[in-house]
């Protein structure tokens, strides 16, 4: 009997036992769908994280009042720390040997307006004039904010693409006026489009001099300081230098623990990688266990199927089926069962990934290799756990099988 025919026969048998077949494939379904869904989500995240978060600049580190806090108490303690100041940034810039740029950064959300047009939930970012050196923000029209903008506390702004679209389309925004909250600004530059990270647009943004920001909003928003080291080789020195200088400015001894955090995006990336490694480990566990359970269930169901069809096996043997034909018949059935489980798993896992992408800001991308791995796993399970029942079926003595009552 040809393989194709065995497969057709197997499918018709499985179809005639729909409910049982479905219950049988649940384990495999769970395994394959978790492979597909988890890989989709993690790979999606990976792409964004490596593209976007790492592009916050190489050999850049950030000094902030807050560090990574894992519990509420730590967070409250961090909250009581002294704020970083603009003067801290100025002092670092003056004294640091290993820094190419020192940039104070502060931000909040605000509504932008121009006449009747409005852009809600825009990020207003106050920056020191060294920010172009961080290499993360480019202008495509007009100019960057300058030192004299910062020193003169001018009401000038560089806007993101989405702001241009909402407020100025179809006009050229450069040189035109807009309002940030109730303050009037003149647009001097337009940022290159950056896309979105985790569903947050990076282009609904307006950059203003940090001094102007302070004039508008006071001192409540905490300042972070971004430092770009003079080179990759001096990144560590630059961090130590900045840490020491800030400790002294904040009245600490050099040997004291700093009451601020210094972190690089690489550190964040490390943390992220550990996190994904954990998720993958967990998935591997779930997959292994559900495949094992799925396989055992398949094996048991195949034994039931062999017993139920002992008579049929006897008839086939009497008509000339070789042992091999019987093995192939039952193996096709267990493999078809498992692969069906795999296919449903791919649908479910892919569906879950797509749904997740729709309703949450998590990006997801179904990977062809994960589908291939899932289906390969499923068919191997079907093959492996099907061999024993199929062999047993083929070893039945024809006369005895024929005498079986059913």
């Amino acid at each position: 009997m040809s393989l194709l025919e065995s497969l057709r026969l197997a499918l018709s048998v499985l179809w005639s036992n729909r409910l049982r077949s479905f219950l049988t494939i649940l384990g495999i379904l769970v395994a394959v769908s978790s492979v597909v869904a988890v890989v989709a989500v993690i790979e999606g995240l990976d792409r964004y994280v490596s593209n976007q978060i790492l592009s916050t600049g190489s050999h850049v580190f950030q000094i902030s009042k807050f560090g990574f806090s894992t519990d509420h108490d730590t967070y409250l303690r961090m909250l009581r720390r002294k704020d970083l100041t603009l003067d801290d940034a100025v002092a670092l810039e003056r004294t640091m040997q290993h820094a190419r740029a020192v940039v104070p950064v502060v931000s909040r959300g605000a509504t932008l307006e121009r006449g009747k047009e409005e852009a809600r939930g825009a990020d207003v970012v106050g920056l020191g004039d060294g920010y172009p050196e961080l290499r993360t923000l480019d202008v495509v029209a007009g100019r960057h904010l300058t030192r004299s903008d910062v020193q003169g506390r001018r009401f000038v702004a560089v806007i993101g693409e989405q702001v241009r679209e909402k407020l100025f389309e179809p006009l050229d925004p450069i040189g035109r006026e807009m309002k940030v909250g109730r303050h009037r600004f003149r647009v001097v530059g337009l940022l290159k489009e950056r896309g979105s990270v985790l569903g947050q647009s990076q282009d609904n943004v307006v950059l203003v001099p940090v001094t102007t920001y302070r004039k508008m909003y006071g001192r409540r928003d905490p300042i972070n300081i971004n430092v770009r080291a003079a080179g990759a080789d001096v990144l560590d020195e630059a961090q130590e230098e900045a840490t020491l200088l800030l400790k002294l400015r904040r009245g600490l001894n050099p040997w004291d623990e700093p009451d601020f955090s210094v972190s690089t995006s690489e550190m964040f990336f490390e943390l992220y990688k550990n996190f994904t490694r954990g998720i993958y480990g967990l998935t591997l566990g779930i997959v292994a266990v559900s495949l094992l359970i799925g396989g055992i269930v398949v094996m048991n169901i195949m034994f039931v199927s062999v017993t139920e069809r002992t008579r049929e096996i006897g008839i086939r043997r009497a008509l000339g089926a070789r042992q091999r034909d019987i093995v192939i018949q039952f193996l096709s059935e267990s493999v078809a069962l498992a692969v069906l489980g795999g296919l449903f798993g791919v649908l479910l896992g892919g569906g879950a990934a797509v749904l997740l992408e729709r309703v949450t800001p998590l990006p997801a991308a179904v990977r062809p290799w994960s589908v291939a791995v899932g289906l390969l796993l499923a068919s191997s399970v079907g093959l492996f756990f099907g061999i024993y029942p199929a062999t047993r079926a083929s070893k039945l003595v024809p006369v005895e099988a024929l005498r079986h009552e059913n």
Partner: protein, 234 residues
């Protein structure tokens, strides 16, 4: 002049079943020679070993002792694949309980031996249709066994036995589950296919049925108690 090579030659065939501690001699030193195109009836009381004999001749079971030549080939030494091949090419079985596959329609049931013979679908269809026509069936090809009458089922089974053009048709009480009128029709079918050149061994309890065969072998307690070739035959 050499005697023609017999179709079947059994020498000292013994079959012992192990039933718990007890040993049952279902067949005890049976010698039997059957020629091509014989129509032979096997009779005997229940438990005398008729089915056991049929199963051994049909290569579904192997004797405990004795030698069996089929078409001059010793069956004892053959492996499972070779036995499967013999069952497929040389033997056609007809069972008392029909033994059709319930899920398959009549045509597919008749095709089944050809599937294991490795024929293409087209060839299978054609030969299965011919076999169905030979037993007086045709329009029922799309029906499943449970949609057929007992007589029709047995016709399908006979078509299935015929479809590979085997050397020998073995029928173990083929009319046992049928009423006498339907049984009569089935016997007519056997007579037709016998006239067409087939060799047939038929097990029956019914003297009237046995009398229509050309040779009657009687078993008693696993032994051949009589072997009569009827005058009127041949």
């Amino acid at each position: 002049m050499a005697a023609p090579l017999p179709l079947i030659s059994l020498r000292g065939i013994t079959r012992i079943y192990q039933a718990g501690r007890e040993q049952v001699r279902a067949l005890d030193d049976v010698d039997l020679t059957i020629q091509r195109n014989e129509y032979l009836a096997v009779m005997g009381p229940s438990g005398s070993g008729k089915s056991t004999l049929m199963n051994i001749i049909g290569c579904l079971d192997t004797p405990t002792a004795g030698s069996y030549l089929l078409n001059g080939t010793a069956v004892e030494g053959l492996d499972d694949d070779a036995l499967a091949r013999i069952r497929n090419r040389e033997i056609g079985f007809v069972f008392q309980t029909f033994n059709l596959l319930p899920r398959a329609d009549a045509l597919h049931n008749v095709e089944l031996p050809l599937v294991y013979a490795g024929l293409s679908i087209r060839e299978r269809r054609e030969r299965a249709r011919e076999a169905l026509a030979q037993v007086g069936l045709a329009p029922e090809t799309k029906r499943r066994p449970n949609e057929l009458s007992g007589g029709q089922r047995q016709r399908v089974a006979i078509a299935r036995a015929l479809v590979t053009s085997p050397s020998l048709i073995l029928a173990d009480e083929p009319t046992g589950n049928l009423d006498s009128k339907t049984g009569e029709e089935i016997l007519a079918v056997f007579e037709t296919i016998h006239r067409a050149g087939n060799s047939i061994i038929l097990v029956t309890h019914d003297e009237n049925i046995a009398r229509r065969a050309h040779r009657i072998v009687r078993l008693l307690d696993g032994r051949v108690s009589s072997d009569v070739v009827r005058e009127t035959a041949r």
